[in-house]
């Protein structure tokens, strides 16, 4: 993609450049900056670091939650590597993530562009599309369970009316994932659309005017101005969706009997809805194996790290290619 003159100046550092070496000098020069970012780090040190270290410590213990801990070395991790359920849960998480993130971000972008162009009723649409995000997940899980129910569900009623047979949505391995992905897409599309919209609104109107003068059509404008300008926000949504998607937990938990007294938190038939964090939750809190739970959580963390790094790279590289 070639550079147009409408691309804004990037990476023009307004702040002073770091002085080479000399730490004390750096502190004297940059203290306002360190002060400005400090609240987060202080809070993390006080409330976040101890739990993180504690869970790391736990990953090497056998602990039932109340009794004494027992040091087991790397045994939890040895189990983890061999544990087919863990790999299944990672696979499930990944499939659900793909099935939800791609339609979600695509629809959100389309929606944002539409909302940005439609002048009337925008605040109505904005509220309407955002409502799924504020609704209580417990209530929604009940609604989704009812809508996708085999015998009395609305979806199957419509399918029956169209003379297509009933689908056992919450019994089949793939449709279980589809319903979970649908729930996530439904809940987060409006949210991402509004993030994109915020980014769209921040693009100065002069850039579009300049493009018009240059004779650019709407498609050209979209790819040459809108997308490059929106890139930081797109990067943000991709990273956040990756992190949240890899941590999918509440949806399958409420859909597939977190309250069930027989075998709770198992993720439904064939364990098709057992995500990695749900597995962690099941091992730690349903089965009282806190050490193994911690080991699972750390493995998930590493996977998230890996995927986020990959996605960041992909989006960033495009960024550099375009700029």
């Amino acid at each position: 993609m070639t550079n147009t003159r409408t691309t804004p100046p990037r990476e023009a550092p307004p702040g002073p450049r770091p002085a080479a070496g000399r730490r004390r000098g750096a502190l004297r020069t940059y203290w306002p900056h360190y002060l400005a970012i400090s609240p987060f780090y202080v809070l993390f040190l006080v409330f976040g670091l101890v739990p993180v270290l504690f869970s790391l410590y736990l990953a090497f213990q056998h602990w039932d939650g109340i009794g004494d801990m027992q040091f087991v070395g790397l045994r939890n991790f040895e189990f983890l590597v061999k544990d087919s359920t863990f790999w299944l849960s990672l696979y499930n998480t990944f499939v659900i993530w793909i099935m939800s993130t791609i339609p979600m971000l695509f629809l959100a972008l389309v929606l944002a562009v539409l909302l940005n162009s439609s002048v009337r009723f925008t605040s109505f649409y904005r509220i309407a599309y955002f409502i799924p995000n504020v609704t209580s997940l417990v209530a929604i899980a009940i609604v989704f369970g009812a809508v996708f129910s085999t015998n009395q569900g609305l979806i199957n009623a419509i399918l029956g009316w169209l003379h297509i047979g009933a689908v056992p949505w919450l019994s089949n391995e793939w449709t279980i994932k589809l319903v979970i992905a649908w729930l996530i897409t439904w809940q987060w599309t409006g949210y991402n659309a509004i993030l994109y919209l915020a980014g769209l609104q921040a693009i100065p109107t002069e850039m579009y005017e300049a493009a018009k003068i240059d004779g650019a059509g709407p498609v050209q404008t979209f790819f040459r101005i809108t997308i490059p300008q929106l890139r930081p926000i797109i990067l943000f949504t991709v990273v956040v969706s990756t992190i949240n998607g890899m941590q999918t937990f509440t949806e399958p938990q409420v859909l597939f009997g977190g309250n069930a007294s027989i075998n709770p938190n198992s993720g439904g038939p064939g364990q098709a809805g057992l995500t990695a964090i749900l597995y962690f939750y099941r091992e730690a809190f349903s089965n009282n194996d806190y050490g193994y739970g911690a080991a699972i959580a750390w493995a998930v963390f590493l996977v998230i790290l890996l995927f986020t790094a990959i996605n960041w790279r992909i989006v960033q590289r495009r960024d550099k290619g375009a700029a």
Binding site: S171, S266, F285, N288
Partner: protein, 421 residues
């Protein structure tokens, strides 16, 4: 040395500086002005609890209804050692893992509970006691099981429909399945069996052994589990099981005459009434094939931090007197653990939902015949793969033999991880 180093690490990790010392202040002092009571929604009759608050004027009884994962919250609070309730409910499925931590609770026998033992069903009393005879959990309710069925659908298939006749004709699982085959042949569109994992659960509960024995040995690959597995799989092979579905779906199918029998404890009747309110008179209760088992039930316990054990124990025994247990049955479908309650009007009254049947005749009888089995703390964890696999056989048509092999090897892995061998 080893221990002190671990302690040191724990302290270093847990405490945020010197503030740690502040934690060990509460819970001491016996002249408490108030006693806190934790239970979950419908864990006790709210009316009985409200009366207890009025009745015990020497202290301020503060009841709290805790929603969500009750055990997680209780364990967290016990670990934190602050705001520990003076009296707490313990669910039946959690008692085994708390018995191991008996030193965190008061032995109720030291407060005179042993004199009351004869008033309660024996197996339940044992369930709340440690191996060395300390009573940790005082029985609230029990979950004697039975078969819920729809007489009209049974009749349509040429099967007996009166509770006594059904119980007599289907006293074993094989008889029950034979009736299922007959129902299939009658071509009424009904599949006898509503839920497969429940049958697996029920058959295990009818025996005296579970997945781990008293010596902490894994016995889930032995005949008693294999037998339960085979019995659970059989209706699928005979084609008399309804398709796998969620609970509400199953109830709906049942009300349409598609799957006319299910198994559950006494409280299951309340689920039916809630889910199918228009089905009044359409259900009956009969003794379960293969004998009774227990499913659910709960206890009250006194954590070590309890500020006034004597008074707390008085409150417990008051809350769980036969009369108040009977009220618990009326208000919250809690089936009494004290047989003296079975003759009280609250229980002997005919239930219109079950066509005027006196269901206590079935459940009361079952309650006293429940076999005692040892349940290890890690029983739930080790049994999970069996339930996952039996569900796979049912929902996905997985080969039962492969499923069994997978379940056993998975369960062995978990047993090893849990320190069971």
């Amino acid at each position: 040395m080893e221990l002190s180093r671990r302690r040191l690490l724990q302290v270093a990790l847990f405490s945020a500086g010197s503030a740690a010392l502040a934690a060990c202040g509460s819970g001491s002092g016996s002249d408490a002005k108030e006693l806190t009571l934790w239970y979950w929604p419908a864990g006790l009759s709210d009316k009985v609890v409200a009366d207890a608050v009025k009745h015990f004027t020497q202290t301020k009884l503060k009841p709290s209804v805790i929603g969500g994962d009750f055990k997680q919250k209780l364990v967290t609070t016990l670990t934190g050692r602050r705001f520990v309730p003076d009296i707490t409910g313990v669910k039946g499925e959690d008692i085994a893992s708390l018995l191991v931590q008996a030193d965190r609770f008061i032995d109720l026998n030291t407060l005179g509970a042993d004199k009351l033992a004869s008033q309660f069903v024996e197996w339940k009393w044992k369930q709340g006691s440690t191996k060395d005879g300390k009573l940790i959990g005082f029985p609230i309710d029990i979950g004697p099981t039975a078969m819920y069925y729809r007489p009209a659908d049974f009749e349509k298939a040429g099967l007996p429909s009166k509770p006594e006749d059904v119980a007599a004709a289907m006293s074993t699982w094989d008889d029950y399945y034979a009736a299922g085959v007959k129902m299939k042949q009658a071509n009424t569109g009904a599949s006898m069996v509503m839920d497969i994992p429940t049958i697996f659960q029920m058959v295990i509960g009818q025996g005296t052994k579970r997945f781990i024995d008293e010596n902490g040995k894994f016995i889930g690959d032995q005949d008693h589990i294999r037998n339960a597995w085979d019995l659970a799989i059989k209706p699928i092979q005979l084609g008399i099981a309804a398709p796998q579905a969620g609970e509400q779906d199953q109830f709906t199918a049942a009300s349409r005459g598609k799957s006319p029998s299910l198994f559950g404890a006494a409280w299951r009747g309340q689920d039916l009434k809630n889910a199918l309110p228009d089905d009044t008179g359409k259900w009956r209760v009969a003794a379960m094939p293969g004998g009774p088992s227990n499913y659910g039930g709960s206890f009250l316990a006194l954590p070590k931090e309890c500020r006034n054990p004597q008074l707390a124990f008085q409150i417990i025994t008051w809350l769980l007197s036969p009369e108040n247990q009977a009220r618990g049955f009326t208000d919250a479908a809690l089936f009494p653990s004290s047989p003296a309650a079975y003759t009280l009007p609250a229980l002997t009254a005919p239930d219109p939902y079950f066509g005027g049947q006196k269901t206590v005749e079935v459940f009361g009888d079952a309650a006293q015949k429940i076999p005692v089995s040892y349940e290890a703390p890690s029983d739930a964890a080790v049994s999970a793969p069996f339930f996952d696999e039996v569900l796979s056989v049912w929902a996905k048509g997985k080969n039962p033999d492969t499923a069994w092999t997978d379940a056993v090897s998975k369960a062995k892995e978990i047993a090893e991880r849990q320190g069971v061998n």
